[in-house]
Symmetry: C2
Subunit: 116 residues, 2 copies
């Protein structure tokens, strides 16, 4: 199997075009936050089909598009799979500590609600 990227390139903001407000909006949804947490834990690209979100396929596609257009993830076609990777370097350069603070906050909240 080749890993050649197809010509169906998806639009992404350049690093300088990424805006804090859009990143925060992208992270403000529980499904999208879950995707980001899984990508952060994987430290690798994951295919869209890897994620089993409790929403319709079109809603899943919407969530990934919001994450991509805000600059939180990078999406590339590899063969027939759409692969997703966290833009950790870009986010860390622009907003030091923000992504980790959000990820940590998400884990804390999950534990708190489970204990509650």
């Amino acid at each position: 199997m080749t890993t050649a990227t197809s010509s169906r390139a998806l639009a992404h903001p350049e690093r300088a075009e990424i805006r804090l407000e859009s990143v925060l909006h992208a992270l403000s949804d529980p499904m999208r936050l879950q995707v980001v947490r899984e990508l952060a834990a994987a430290e690798d690209e994951l295919s869209c089909s890897h994620f089993d979100l409790p929403v319709t396929k079109s809603t899943t596609t919407h969530h990934f598009r919001v994450l991509r257009e805000s600059g939180v993830i990078r999406q590339v076609y590899r063969g027939t799979a759409k692969m997703n990777g966290l833009r950790r370097d870009d986010l860390t350069e622009l907003f030091p500590g923000l992504l980790d603070a959000v990820l940590d906050a998400s884990v804390r909240q999950e534990r708190r609600l489970a204990d509650g």
Copy 2:
């Protein structure tokens, strides 16, 4: 002038009811982020009339309500003024480092765009 709180109490989430997703959503708007930055810098309550946002009064009221209902700010009537304070203790306890990371990111972005 007295500082007695009037009986027109406004609804706020308890600390345990504050949700990360709602906080991120509240912070994902440029106007609301500006309000939070001013409150953080003031380290004190500020009246709604202190803020001169380039939007209508009803939109301003909406933004403050989103901030209050998400748990980011506390609003109390003192006499005829509606005073606003950042719920820094609650946010720091729930989501350590998050508020400061967002505030820092906002300052960095402002500088970056000004330099651009």
